[in-house]
Symmetry: C2
Subunit: 244 residues, 2 copies
């Protein structure tokens, strides 16, 4: 059987996340239905990540097994002709048998977009957090630096999301501004449930003076989600890159 990996991207606004849902439409439902039509056999895909409702992906991979003889280039064309316009497939490769889009993943980069202007931009509705207050990117970058490295991120894990091992290595946390758009880029070998969104909520606390940048080490030590900030809205979050 072939083991195929597909590279895609999607705007998450219309979907209940990536992972298949029974009573609502997730990206996985739509892709599996399309592949089943194309290959004329039931297809089950494995995504590189679950994503929350409304989260976007500029780069996303999924893998699946199939007996179909359709060449990879044909699968790309067929998928793009069937899938809705808010999902796009840009590549497809036959992989070794051991490859799995999720378990083979070595790391990911997320971007959180904050539109920092007095008036909202209607074209960024559901695509960036509108934050009309003063945003001190230097200050939140200092706080963010404390989170880089290998830590137990239990304080930054949504309730019910804790696992046995909550240690992750954040390899990079950068804050950049391009005119009114502030982006926080976070790369790690893995992410806990809601981790990026809770980090963003906590950095906004730092911006507003409710926390100091050097409160971060103690917050990590607490290993208690109650101690961190609010969970920032899902729609500002983009899965940007996936590392294998």
């Amino acid at each position: 059987m072939r083991n195929i990996c597909v590279k895609c991207s999607f705007c998450g606004t219309a979907y209940h996340g990536f992972q298949r849902q029974n009573n609502s439409v997730a990206v996985q439902n739509v892709i599996e239905a399309s592949l089943t039509r194309i290959t004329k056999a039931d297809v089950h895909i494995n995504g590189c990540s679950r994503t929350d409702t409304g989260v976007h992906a500029r780069e996303f991979y999924f893998s699946f097994r199939t007996d179909s003889p359709i060449p990879c280039s044909g699968l790309v064309k067929a998928l793009n002709s069937i899938l809705p316009g808010d999902i796009a497939v840009s590549g497809c490769t036959d992989m070794d048998d051991g490859f799995h889009a999720r378990y083979s993943c070595k790391g990911k980069e997320y971007e959180y977009m904050i539109y920092n202007a007095a008036v909202r931009d209607p074209f960024l509705d559901n695509r960036a957090l509108h934050y009309p207050y003063k945003l001190d990117t230097d200050r939140i970058a200092v706080a963010g630096k404390y989170l880089t490295g290998r830590h137990d991120f239990s304080s930054f894990c949504g309730y019910d999301g804790l696992k046995e091992d909550n240690v992750r290595t954040v390899t990079d946390l950068r804050v950049s501004r391009d005119a009114d758009m502030v982006s926080v880029f976070i790369s790690a070998d893995g992410f806990l449930y809601n981790m990026v969104r809770i980090i963003i909520g906590t950095l906004l606390d730092v911006n507003e003076g409710r926390r100091e940048p050097d409160d971060m080490p103690l917050l990590l030590e607490k290993k208690d989600r109650c101690c961190a900030g609010d969970t920032a809205p899902a729609y500002g979050l983009y899965l940007n890159r996936v590392f294998y």
Copy 2:
């Protein structure tokens, strides 16, 4: 009575154009309902332009009369707090009694966005025409230049849209490329029904060799919509600027 002009912008995807509709939701319906709530009196607004279903506006003005004493800054805040996220208000001014957002308008600039890449961008779904073929911007710019100046644009007017006077002055028609995004900017003292969209459809005919750039003068002379190209999709069209 005060005569107020409001500057706004909207993503047109969710709306049946700007102009009030009885059986579907237009931008005007939503704004009038909001202003009626805010001023506690029925409000009728006049937009600077009708726009087709799905057309966007980066800059749009409407005017209305009211007895409300709410200062302009308060109206901006109140509107932005009530309006949905795909409509944003950025300014409000008390005008002379004679001002009318539509009749006082001296000209407009539209932009038509064409995403010219092999694979579609899911974040441009409903926001740009995806055109995966070779696009020769120099060639369509030459064709476009023939349309600048004062002409009878009947050939570029949608059926049922013809008026007594179909002469308009196109003050500028530019084609620009930024990586994969090609934009056609058209400024004029006024636009006929579907005029920009038919111009774009005709320019794409020129790109594909079905017409020559220097066919344009004859096409204008024909004064017959049948002779022009298809009407390009509404979702690539943006009202960019309005001149008073």
